[in-house]
């Protein structure tokens, strides 16, 4: 066993964490498990690919790699646009589907509807892009040694830094701003939040936007490091939920901690017992933590 699993696990954990934040916010504020969250990840990656292609057609040189990275400014700019688009997709899905079901107050129906939305979106992506994987770049990146026998690529370092920045931003938003306090208020008690002057519909829109944008970031990361496929998000769905539940529903630091544990646990499992057991290890960890602390690592008993 080499320490490389730590580096690999950290990077996987960052991708899972970006997606798990949306799942955990969704669950705590809208009170349902959104199974279509994985498709936000896939949609975000394809949207980035398309916008980058458009930018590449308009501006020669936008696809040229910056420094040691595999991507050019075209993909960086496309990523910002795609994050907005994915947020908009999440909002549209809520408007067309979830908001109507929410008014009827049937949580289980909403969960099932999200499962349907997941299949529909995935099928649309497959229809539009086929199930053959595509790549942001065909260039091979050389992993640099960073000590202790671990190697990482420049892309991975940049993406880890970007993830840390996004996570710190979301955490600061939640804990230090009026919008964040409003979100926590709605998560705890929507009726009291309304009485206190919080526009609950506005909070719900913010949650979809943030969740969609972060899922897109996760998809871009997955696309740069691995590949882009219609199933990429769906395959990440179980680790996303494992991370959100492990960390304690509603807690952003919890989702990140849960994601790192799942990511590192899976990477270790690949080395110790073989790749086919990686999902099983994530769930053994989940079961273990929930037996000791049923509310998750950062969850509050209420």
């Amino acid at each position: 066993m080499t320490p490389q699993f730590l580096a690999d696990g950290l990077i996987a954990g960052a991708m899972i964490g970006l997606g798990a934040i949306g799942v955990t916010l969704n669950y705590s504020i809208l009170r349902f498990a959104n199974f279509a969250h994985g498709e936000f990840i896939s949609f975000g990656a394809y949207a980035t690919l398309l916008i980058a292609a458009a930018i590449g057609a308009a501006f020669a040189g936008s696809a040229e790699a910056i420094g040691p990275f595999s991507f050019g400014w075209g993909i960086a700019a496309a990523g910002l646009g795609a994050m907005t688009l994915t947020g908009a997709l999440a909002l549209a899905l809520d408007f067309l589907l979830f908001a109507r079901l929410r008014q009827k107050g049937a949580a289980i129906t909403t969960v099932m509807a999200s499962f349907g939305a997941s299949m529909a979106l995935r099928a649309l992506l497959e229809f539009a892009f086929t199930s053959r994987p595509v790549y942001f770049s065909r260039d091979l990146q050389i992993a640099m040694p960073i000590g202790f026998g671990m190697r990482v690529t420049a892309d991975q370092i940049a993406l880890l830094a970007l993830t840390a920045l996004l996570l710190a931003g979301v955490q600061a938003l939640l804990t230090r701003t009026q919008a964040g306090r409003a979100m926590r208020a709605v998560a705890e008690n929507p009726t009291l939040a309304r009485v206190a002057g919080v526009d609950v519909d506005g909070v719900i829109r913010a949650v979809w936007l943030i969740g969609g944008a972060l899922a897109c970031a996760s998809g871009i990361m997955l696309g740069l490091i691995v590949q882009i496929r219609p199933f990429m998000g769906f395959d990440l769905l179980l680790p996303l939920f494992a991370a959100a539940i492990l960390g304690g529903i509603g807690s952003v630091p919890g989702a990140i901690a849960g994601a790192l544990i799942v990511g590192v646990g899976e990477a270790a499992a690949v080395q110790i017992v073989g790749a086919e057991w990686r999902a099983a290890v994530a769930f053994l960890l989940l079961i273990g933590v929930l037996l000791v602390k049923p509310t998750g690592l950062f969850g509050r008993a209420d």
Binding site: A182, A193, D199
Partner: protein
Amino acid sequence: MSDAARRALEVDSLVAGYEPGLPIVNGVSIGADAGEIVAILGPNGAGKSTLIKAVAGLVPISAGAVRLAGAEITRLPAHTMVRRGLAFTPQTENVFASMTVADNLRLASGIVTAPLRVGRIEAMYAFFPDLARQRALLAGRLSGGQRQMLAIARALIGEPRVLMLDEPSAGLSPKLVETVFARLTEIRQSGVAIVLVEQNARAALRIANRAYILVEGRNRREGSARDLADDPDVAGLYLGGLRAAPMRQAAS
């Protein structure tokens, strides 16, 4: 002050309930003037809580009107009520238990413009010194009395014209009820109209100027708090044994 200007809250023939066609409040009219405490009394199931929840925008209204200082506010979204000057504190879960005292007040201060927020919060700390000492504590860890104070402070932060409270005495010891009610009489002096829904009729009539008695979703009696407290029929029939030993009305 003219009558129209004194009348802070006017509820006119209100019909409201959770299910269409099943009104819990069936044509109730009440009013509250600036600087008075109005108690809403009656047996369990009379629709007292539903009445003020409907006024606050939390229960659908099918007929009737609600006017705040003369302006119609019937069916406005609940979150806009407090900005217009109508504040409401629910009976239970009336603070955000997972947030600190300070964050509870900061959240509530969101209804006033940013430069005013800190001043309003400090004014609440001055009025409720207990809260100032506990500002870093999670609201869920406050005692029952302190929770009620925080709920009232949260409601007052926008300097409302009308403050509606749903059973602020629930779960409090008689001594704490006295303390909370004493604060309400201080708040009344600042010109706020207070609408108090209470099971604890005895204590409510002691601080109220006027009272309405509801039965089965309709107005049954109204009058000055003193007259109603002295009326043997009222005490025996509707107030859960105001004069005799306290007894609980059967839940409907």
